[in-house]
């Protein structure tokens, strides 16, 4: 190797590119066990696996896999069963809409590579999700689908041209050899359409039958094969009807339907992918060369470890979570939190993976890598929500599977009956029944809506972590707020200062700041922000539950609660939340602390009331404070000084009247949150990784709450429309097809349209937030402009 650049490239190939390399190598012609084993071995390497696998404290692992060749609910069922049977696997969640599988397993009994091996045994190629593989997978899938549609479309048009004279042969008295000639040419054109464009259907059906189950591809394939083989037989025999036009049209229309489904599915998944694609591939790490000088080395992100120091240039994306050690800059966290303005970050502030360093270079000490970063946490929650199937969807899937078995039997019966009465049309009727009645729409009805709704909500800063949450959100009638950190910002600042001595206000603030220097709690930060710590303090010590005490220029100052600082010289209301500064036992000043309301709290409450949702506050704070907050926000019901068990009781009481949502800061309120019908936690902070809430308000903007509830209500409506439509379609179309009233071409259109309609209906949820989407596109364009990598 000639230089650092080459080294970095080589390491990058070793770190990231291998996946792609083996994907290319595993094309059918070259696919040998050796190559596949190589791929598995690559993922078996601990440092590679650690990049994708999230391990919790109890020794359970979690990984998201992207599955190729994933088509419908039956595939999902097969994978669920196949992986669920492995020893050590505790949970398998399949997202049909995004072709992802989320697996949880016992670390001691199984490796990630074993999961991949099991999947390949079932006939699926899978790989753990990284930004690279997702993008590559999507591109290949889309290109292949387009090629297949193109071939089918062109083939269909031409076959139709050759077949038209055959339809008119009686009027035109066409010579028999010409008829045979045209049939032969049609066969020539249909064959590639059938076996190239129709390959996904054929392969899917064969794989399902090989695993002794039935999926949506089976009836379609039966119909295609019957029509094609009969036509070929008749052509070679030189007598009888041919159906080449029907075959090409089936393939074209069905592929088109699948394509639209695929595009919409990709779009729903794009939020998660947008987050995943934030993770950069390489990082610049500080290290020492052989002479002990500090150098900067470009290394793959997968080799980063906790405690490493990295350089983040302006415009670069952070590779991992960490703490700034040198420098000062602003960081754009918009993709993670929805916060549009870049946030200021100085020495000792923490920065998150996936955010963009905007202004100037900083040096960062890594505190979390790979699956442990906050970004990974968000992605994982999002994927869990999409893999989580609500009860409604599970029921629909079960119905669809029984339905398929009945369908095949039914089509045989229809064939027999028609054979008795009108043998010429029996064939047509069987084709129509097989094609028209595919229950795709039924299986897609709910997952499509869940995916679209969670994407629409994510754009407004609300991350859904459980599939059921959307249905529950739609039916809530009451919202309970916590106060601190929820309705208020949770950032304490100093309000009115009442000076009770000859000192000036500024002097009081400076003394307080000097006393509080180095302390970490919120009140101390408020003083540090207000005053300048210009004095050195001797004998500084902290009195727990009271405040701080220190000596400045011979005077003993005390800062803290009135009881502590004023040392019983004055009597104070125990409800008083203010802080008092005293010097040599004499009260010098009294500071009022305020916790400002969030700017959108009032708007949020008003909009909720407008939507017919009542609101209340349950807070552990003192009465006065809660009362004033309630008055400002326009909330009539409130309870102050609540212990967690009081909150629980209050929520259970409210629940007897209707579904209750609880909005809290997620850390202190965990038990209360889990009791509520829907729990919404604020913020994307450290608590997120183990958040038990149903939803997380990443943006911290309360104003998106009413909006999100409206989305949930619409989602529920659309979900019901979809289920009604799918049921109605299948119930009416089958008798019609069995009676021979639906010609095969109409059956193909009907079947494709029924599933496309369901997906398009769900996509209406995405359309309304197109304005926002435009904004993120703009932002992303800007990012790429700043950061060409």
């Amino acid at each position: 190797m000639c230089c650092e650049g080459c080294r970095a490239v080589a390491e990058l190939i070793a770190g990231m590119g291998l996946t792609d390399y083996y994907r290319f190598r595993s094309q059918p012609a070259q696919q040998s066990g050796q190559n596949h084993d190589d791929k598995l071995q690559f993922f078996a390497r601990p440092e590679i696996a650690a990049q994708y696998v999230h391990t919790d404290t109890a020794g359970y692992c979690e990984v998201n896999l992207l599955v190729e060749g994933f088509r419908c609910a039956a595939c999902g069922w097969l994978i669920e069963r196949g992986l669920g049977r492995l020893p050590g696997v505790t949970k398998v969640g399949v997202s049909v809409a995004t072709a992802r599988v989320r697996v949880e397993w016992d670390h001691n009994r199984l490796q990630m590579a074993d999961l991949l091996r099991a999947l390949s045994g079932l006939g699926y190629q899978a790989q753990p999700v990284t930004a690279d593989s997702v993008r590559h997978h999507k591109e290949t899938e889309r290109r292949n689908a387009l090629r297949r549609i193109g071939v089918a479309g062109i083939g269909m048009m031409q076959v139709m041209m050759y077949v038209l004279p055959l339809y008119l042969r009686d009027q035109t008295h066409m010579a028999v050899p010409v008829q045979h000639y045209l049939q032969l040419i049609s066969m020539l054109l249909t064959t590639p359409v059938m076996f190239y464009s129709g390959w996904p259907f054929l392969y899917g059906a064969v794989r399902a039958l090989g695993n002794r189950t039935i999926n949506m591809d089976v009836p379609v394939t039966l119909a295609l094969l019957m029509a094609y083989l009969t036509s070929v037989y008749h052509t070679l025999l030189g007598a009888g009807d041919t159906y080449f036009d029907s075959v090409t049209m089936f393939v074209f229309l069905l592929s088109l339907g699948r394509y639209v489904e695929m595009v919409l599915r990709h779009r729903s998944a794009s939020r998660g992918d947008a987050l995943a694609s934030l993770q950069p591939v390489s990082a610049q790490r500080y290290s020492r060369d052989s002479e002990g000088n500090e150098i900067i080395q470009e290394i793959p992100v997968s080799l980063l470890q906790v405690g490493d120091d990295v350089l983040i240039r302006a415009g670069a994306v952070l590779p991992a979570d960490g703490e700034v050690t040198v420098g000062c800059s602003t960081v754009d966290e918009s993709m993670l939190t929805g916060e549009a303005m870049p946030q200021k970050r100085t020495v000792r502030s923490s920065v998150l993976a996936g955010t963009v360093n905007v202004e100037s270079p900083i040096r960062v000490r890594i505190s979390a890598v790979g699956g442990k970063t906050a970004l990974s946490g968000v992605i994982r929650l999002l994927e869990r929500a999409q893999a989580d199937k609500p009860h409604l969807a599970l029921a629909a899937d079960r119905v669809a599977r029984y339905f398929l078995q009945i369908l095949i039997v039914l089509s045989i019966l229809v064939g027999i009956v028609w054979w008795h009465f009108n043998p010429e049309r029996a064939f047509e009727a069987i084709l129509a029944v097989l094609v028209v009645s595919c229950p795709c729409a039924l299986s897609l009805a709910t997952p499509a809506v869940i995916a679209a709704a969670s994407a629409a909500m994510a754009r407004r800063g609300l991350l859904i972590t459980h599939g059921d949450a959307i249905e529950k959100l739609a039916s809530i009638s009451h919202v309970v707020f916590d106060k601190t950190g929820t309705l208020s910002t949770g950032i304490v600042s100093i309000g009115r200062t009442q000076v009770m001595s000859c000192l000036s206000v500024v002097q009081c603030h400076d003394i307080a700041a000097s006393l509080e220097i180095g302390a970490e709690h919120p009140v101390a930060r408020a003083f540090q922000a207000r005053g300048i710590a210009r004095w050195t303090v001797n004998d500084l010590h902290i009195v727990p539950g009271g405040g701080v005490q220190g000596v400045i220029e011979g005077i003993t100052y005390r800062l803290g609660s009135p009881a502590f600082a004023a040392a019983n010289k004055h009597s104070y209301d125990p409800d008083d939340a203010s802080v008092v500064l005293s010097g040599d036992e004499k009260v010098l000043a009294r500071f009022e602390l305020t916790d400002p309301l969030r700017s959108d709290a009032i708007q949020c409450v008003r909009q909720l009331n407008d939507a017919g949702i009542s609101t209340s506050i349950l807070s552990g704070d003192a009465g006065q404070v809660v009362e004033s907050v309630a008055a400002v926000c326009g909330i009539n019901q409130y309870q102050s000084r609540c212990k967690p068990e009081d909150k629980l009781k209050a929520i259970q009481q409210l629940q007897s009247k209707g579904e209750v949502a609880m909005v809290g800061d997620g850390i202190n309120d965990a038990p209360v949150l889990s009791a509520a019908g829907v729990s919404i936690a604020m913020g994307a902070g450290s608590g997120l990784a183990h958040a038990s809430a149903d939803a997380v308000l990443l943006s911290n903007q309360l104003s998106s709450l009413p909006c999100v509830i409206l989305i949930a209500r619409r989602a529920r409506k659309i979900m019901r429309q979809n289920l009604y439509w799918a049921a109605f379609y299948n119930i009416t179309s089958i008798p019609l097809a069995a009676l021979g009233l639906i010609p095969p071409w109409l059956a193909a259109i009907g079947m494709s349209l029924s599933s496309v309609l369901v997906v398009l209906n769900a996509a209406r949820l995405l359309r309304d937030s197109r304005q926002d989407a435009g904004d993120t596109v703009l932002q992303r364009t800007l990012h790429t402009a700043i950061n060409p990598v």
Partner: protein, 58 residues
């Protein structure tokens, strides 16, 4: 009728060319991103200008 013997194989050749052209277009990424080109018209002049300034001035 002998016309058909020539014209139909000829049409097959044309179909072959059409299919090849389509597959080439897909393979070369013509359909990969249908959205960005619409944005390009907005962003292109700016970047061109800045390039010019870069070349001339700084």
């Amino acid at each position: 009728m002998s016309m058909l013997l020539i014209l139909i194989p000829l049409s097959l050749v044309l179909i072959g060319i059409a299919v090849w052209a389509f597959i080439w277009a897909v393979g070369s990424g013509q359909f990969d991103d249908l959205e960005t080109p619409a944005w390009d018209i907005l962003s292109q002049p700016e970047s061109d200008d800045s390039n010019k300034y870069d070349a001339a001035g700084t």
